[in-house]
C-alpha cells in the first residue's frame, strides 16, 4: 500500500494523474485516512515551490553576452606582425613573465659589468706591481755598484799611503 502511495506521489510531481491513478488514490485514502493529509502536504509543497517568482532579467542580457562573444571577436584588432606582435603579446598576456625576464637580464648585465671591472682592476694592480718590482731591482743594482766602489776605495786606502803633498794642496785650496 505504502509503495503504491509513494509511486503516486512521485508521478504527481511530474504529471497529472490519470483517472485510474485517482481511483487508486481514493482507495488508499479509504484504507488509511492519514495518507490524505500526507498527500495534501506533498501537493501543497509542490504548489509553494512552483510559486517561486521568476527573477527579473535586464533587457540587455543578450547584448552583454554577445558583446563578450561574437562582437568581441569582430572588434579584435588585426594581428600585428613581428616584433610588435611579440611585444603586445608580452604586455597583454605575459606581463609578469616579461617583468621577471627584464629583471633577470638587468641582473645578469650588472653582474657581468662588475666582473669585468674587477678583472680590469686586478690587471692594473698587477701591472703596477710589476713596474714597482722592476724599478726596485734597478735601484738595488745601482746601490750594489756604489757599495763596490766604496769597498774598492777602502781597500785602496788600506793598501797604500796617501800622497801627503797632494792632500795638503787639496786642503789648502
Amino acid at each position: 500500500m505504502r509503495g503504491s502511495f509513494e509511486q503516486l506521489i512521485e508521478k504527481s510531481r511530474k504529471k497529472t494523474l490519470t483517472p485510474e491513478d485517482q481511483r487508486l488514490l481514493e482507495e488508499l485514502f479509504a484504507q488509511d485516512p492519514t495518507l490524505k493529509s500526507q498527500w495534501d502536504q506533498e501537493r501543497r509543497l509542490s504548489q509553494i515551490l512552483a510559486s517561486l517568482p521568476q527573477v527579473p532579467l535586464s533587457e540587455d542580457f543578450n547584448q552583454k553576452v554577445l558583446q563578450q562573444t561574437f562582437w568581441a571577436k569582430d572588434r579584435r584588432p588585426a594581428r600585428r606582425r613581428g616584433f610588435a606582435s611579440w611585444m603586445s603579446a608580452l604586455s597583454e598576456k605575459h606581463w609578469a613573465q616579461a617583468v621577471a625576464a627584464v629583471c633577470v637580464i638587468s641582473f645578469v648585465t650588472f653582474g657581468a659589468y662588475l666582473q669585468h671591472n674587477q678583472v680590469q682592476k686586478i690587471r692594473e694592480t698587477a701591472d703596477a706591481l710589476s713596474t714597482v718590482a722592476n724599478t726596485a731591482a734597478e735601484i738595488a743594482t745601482v746601490q750594489e755598484s756604489d757599495l763596490e766602489a766604496i769597498q774598492i776605495l777602502g781597500e785602496y786606502e788600506q793598501g797604500s799611503s796617501i800622497d801627503d803633498d797632494l792632500w795638503l794642496a787639496m786642503v789648502s785650496d
Binding site: 511530474k14 501543497r44 563578450q68
Partner: protein
Amino acid sequence: MIRVKNGDALAFSILMDRYKQAVVNLVVYTVGDNIDSEDIAQHVFIRVYRNAATYEVRSKFTTWLFTIAKNLALNEIRRRKRHPIDSLDVVEQEEDYTKTKQYPDTKTVAPDDSMMNEEMQKCLKAALEGLPERQRLSLLMFQEQGLSYEEISEILEISLASTKSLIFRARDTLKKTLKEYLSSESAT
C-alpha cells in the same frame, strides 16, 4: 547548437532567449540573492559559446547547460565563503524591496493574501537557503526546471539513487520548515 558552433549569432541569441530565465532562476535561488547572479548567468552563456566546440550533440543540451550553471553557482558560493563581505547592495536591495511592497496589487490579489504570499515567499527562500547546496540544487532542478532524475544525476555526477535521496531529504526538510503553510487550512 550546431549553428552556434558554426558562429551563428542569431542562433545563439535564440538559445539565450529560450534558456536565460531558467539559468538565472537556478543561479539566483542556488546562490541565494540577486547580487552578481545575472553576471554569473551571463558567464554561463559565454562559456557555452566558448566551449561550443567541445559540446557533443548526442548529449542533451540542457544537461550540459545546467552543468555549467551548477559549476559557476557553486564556485560563487565557495568564493563568498572564502571572502565573506557584507555588501551595501544587500541592504539597499532589502530597503528597496520593502519600499516596493508598500504598494499592493489590489487588482489581482486581496491584501491579506498578498501579505500571506509575501511572507510565505520569504520563508520559502530562507528554507531553501538553509538546505545543503546539493539538496538545494537538485530540488530546484527537479521542481523549477523540470529535469528528470537521470539528468540531475548526470549534472551532479552522482548516482540515480543519491539524486532521489537528495530530493527526498530536501522536500522532507522543507515540509518541516514550512509546516504552517502546508496545512489544508492555509492552502484554501
